[in-house]
């Protein structure tokens, strides 16, 4: 695949890895946070850490919209889905996310009509096909996904589709990064910026991170070479004593973002005064809600929801893990009460979460995995090249 395969080349990775290693100051340790869960996914999927020297640690940040969704919001969505004439539609990611009383899958098993969609436009299509049902789209995601939701609402309005609404849980990334930067025990040397969010918001919103917090940030793409190159750029900045916002992902991210997408979000949505993030608590102006003008597409206004906050168990240490203060294994309930099958904390919810990724892929010491994976494969020649 073009723009994919060429950014997965092992030889280039090794060359880049050598450069990164050469930039490490003896005795110094480095911690970089990849804000975005998509980066975490790439890192584990491709075994990227094998190319990094031990001195560099990647900290997995809060950038997975389903993981940070508070349990109370899942309960509210399930309460809507349980109405007899409702079809709830959601991305596949949402299906296993636990609420106070279970997940969408559990609600579906108990009789709710919940359908997986690939795009909010698919939800609108379901609304068109089922005029006697009320179709609700469980809207989640950062600024990357919000324009698509907003466009879908605009389309519904243009077509006069009245049985469609969205349950808006869109969040914004900058306040979450601020919350992390404001944490007193933060120990980071720089950030990998979320590439796809940046296609929409551009690179300027990160400038305060470099200017005021003294942390370099490189907006990174999602192929493994993108991430490795971004780490290299961060290391170069540190070595050269620079602290800037750089854009590694310039093939996709314009410095000023996507104006049209921002306009569309602004047309349909506005900031909420505050919103709860699992693991980080309440953060002001960190989420979006539907504007008054589009009230008839706002499930929060159309349906009575319980609106009860569900507290995480006291033993959860997700906040510390999200901020990179604790490693997943250091949490008291990691691997005992909290596992991917019963994720009690946010970092275990999706496979992108720091704890789930560590549980699934990082459980074995890297040395042991690496050692196990050496050795020749008999007759190893791929018959069908990919």
């Amino acid at each position: 695949m073009r723009f994919v395969d060429e950014f997965r080349d092992a030889d280039t990775a090794r060359a880049l890895a050598a450069r990164i290693a050469a930039l490490c100051e003896p005795g110094r340790r480095y911690a970089f946070m990849e804000v975005c869960g998509g980066h975490t996914h790439t890192i584990y999927k491709h075994g990227l850490e094998d190319h990094l020297p031990d001195a560099i640690r990647l900290v997995h940040g809060p950038g997975c919209p389903v993981c940070v969704l508070p349990m109370g919001r899942v309960d509210d969505a399930i309460a809507i889905a349980a109405q007899p004439d409702v079809i709830m539609t959601a991305f596949g990611d949402m299906m296993r996310v636990p609420g106070g009383d279970g997940s969408f899958f559990d609600a579906k098993a108990a009789g709710a009509d919940i359908r997986m969609v690939y795009s909010p436009l698919d939800a609108l299509k379901i609304a068109r096909a089922n005029p006697d049902r009320r179709v609700v789209f469980m809207a989640i995601g950062f600024e990357t996904t919000a324009p698509s939701t907003a466009m879908t609402v605009l389309r519904a309005a243009r077509e006069g589709i009245e049985n469609f609404s969205i349950f808006c849980n869109h969040v914004t990334i900058i306040p979450a990064i601020k919350a992390i930067l404001d944490s007193p025990d933060l120990r980071l040397d720089g950030f990998l910026g979320p590439g796809h969010v940046s296609t929409v918001i551009g690179c300027r919103p990160y400038e305060f991170i470099a200017a005021r917090h003294g942390e370099p940030l490189v907006v990174a793409g999602f192929e493994p070479l993108d991430i490795l190159q971004s780490v290299y750029q961060l290391m170069l900045q540190l070595a050269e004593g620079r602290c800037e916002v750089e854009n590694q992902y310039s093939r996709v991210v314009p410095w000023d973002g996507n104006r049209r997408a921002l306009e569309v979000i602004g047309e349909v949505m506005e900031l909420r005064p505050y919103f709860e993030w699992r693991g980080l608590g309440f953060i002001s102006h960190s989420a979006m809600q539907v504007r008054e003008a589009y009230a008839r597409y706002d499930a929060e206004r159309l349906f009575a929801v319980p609106g009860v906050r569900v507290a995480d168990p006291k033993a959860c240490q997700c906040g510390e893990v999200l901020k990179g203060v604790l490693e997943p294994w250091q949490c008291k309930v990691f691997g005992t009460a909290c596992t991917p099958e019963t994720p009690i904390g946010t970092c275990m919810v999706s496979s992108e979460g720091a704890c789930a990724a560590y549980y699934n892929f990082g459980r074995f010491s890297r040395e042991r995995v690496r050692a196990g994976a050496t050795g020749p494969t008999p007759l190893a020649d791929p018959v069908m090249p990919r």
Binding site: P65, G335, V369, L379
Partner: protein
């Protein structure tokens, strides 16, 4: 960051009962200080006898991953426990009245019933034929049961029966007994089919997922994921089009050639259905107490399957096949087996995708095209399309 109290949240605060229970159940566990200790404890927990935690069956229980395994072990194995079942192979190897038999059964529910490359009828015959073939048996007789929904078109049933007849003739088996039930509208999705089959194990070999040994070659018989992606796209919900058809096929012929070539060097045969190649390899690693090391670059996947998988954010290693087998073969016989596979139309795309290693036992490791290593674990349920 503005930290607000719970009272600002509107309707008050409560706790999640299930989460508090989970914490309470493990309350006694001491807090371990080292990473190694924590990892060891996790391994111990994972080895414990599984329990079904859910109150109700969810779709994940049918996906072939962890949830399915838990259900089978906690409910069925618990109730029916016997040495033959305990092996949890594709079929049961039995000795009855002096005959070496293989016996298996499979239930088929697929939506849509008709998809590019096949239909539920082909699947029902080929699936059971393949399970018998994977026991090293020659498939002989099949049974077929139908659960039909009130209102189901007779023409569709005739079409399904015709493709079953065709598939059975091609596989050299006869459907010799059967049953039909009709349920009220809404109580089934059109048509469900269950087949069972008997085969004769003519060869003096025993194949088992527990027989893999370090150094063995791991082979797949062709490009993976075709069936799962085809069916996912054929449902139409994703609005994705691709020129791709299900790989449903009877594998008894290619299996016979493979066994002729490999003899007792063939240790394990499995067809990579639900849960895909990754799930099968995990079963082999677990049963044999070995590591399976896979080379990502060597795994054959069609472009369209790669494209659809990237678009949906799923991993082809977990996508179902209906006409592909995984073979674990002693290194000395791997060349002969590969030659036999390549000489057969159903094995033309075969590839050695990896090898068996000693450590870490029970694990499947992937050497990525990027030059890294990662663990390929069982999924909890189906691979779900994701946006994150």
């Amino acid at each position: 960051m503005t930290a607000l109290d719970g009272e600002h949240a509107g309707g008050g605060t409560r706790s999640a009962g299930w989460a508090e229970d989970a914490v309470a159940r493990h309350a006694g566990a001491e807090h371990l200080r080292s990473e190694e200790q924590v990892l060891e404890r996790i391994e111990r927990t994972r080895r414990r006898r599984p329990r079904v935690r859910e109150d109700r069956i969810t779709l994940a229980h049918g996906a072939g991953g962890k949830a399915t395994h838990t259900l089978i072990e906690a409910v069925f194995l618990e109730a029916f426990r016997n040495p033959v079942l305990e092996a949890l192979e594709d079929g049961a190897a039995l000795d009855a009245g002096g005959a070496r038999l293989a016996f298996t059964t499979d239930a088929f529910v697929v939506s849509p019933l008709f998809f590019p490359g096949g239909d539920i009828g082909d699947l029902a015959v080929n699936g059971t034929v393949n399970d018998l073939a994977m026991c090293g048996a020659r498939p002989r007789h099949l049974s077929a049961s139908f659960i039909l929904e009130e209102g189901f078109p007779v023409a569709d049933l005739q079409r399904i029966a015709a493709s079953m007849a065709r598939a059975a003739a091609a596989a050299g088996v006869e459907i010799v007994t059967g049953d039909t039930k009709v349920v009220r509208r809404g109580q089934a999705d059109g048509c469900f089919v269950t087949t069972a089959g008997i085969g004769v194990r003519e060869r003096p070999i025993t194949l088992s997922a527990a027989s893999a040994r370090p150094g063995d070659a791991v082979i797949v018989s062709g490009p993976i994921g075709d069936h799962g992606i085809t069916v996912m796209l054929a449902r139409g919900e994703l609005d994705i089009e691709a020129d791709i058809v299900s790989d449903t096929a009877a594998l008894h012929g290619v299996t016979a050639d493979l066994l002729d070539a490999g003899g007792d060097g063939v240790r394990v045969l499995r067809d990579a259905t639900r849960g895909g190649v990754a799930t099968i390899l995990n079963e082999i690693a677990g049963s044999s107490g070995v590591a399976v090391v896979v080379d990502e670059a060597a795994v054959p996947v069609r472009d369209e399957v790669v494209g659809a998988s990237e678009l949906l954010g799923i991993d082809p290693l977990y996508v179902a096949c209906e006409g592909r087998l995984v073979a674990v073969v002693a290194p000395s016989r791997a060349g002969a087996v590969m030659a036999a596979l390549h000489a057969h139309p159903l094995g033309a795309g075969a590839a050695v995708v990896g090898h068996v290693a000693e450590d870490p036992p029970g694990m499947v490791l992937l050497r990525t095209t990027f030059g890294g290593t990662r663990i390929v674990d069982l999924l909890v349920g189906d691979p779900l399309p994701r946006i994150c």
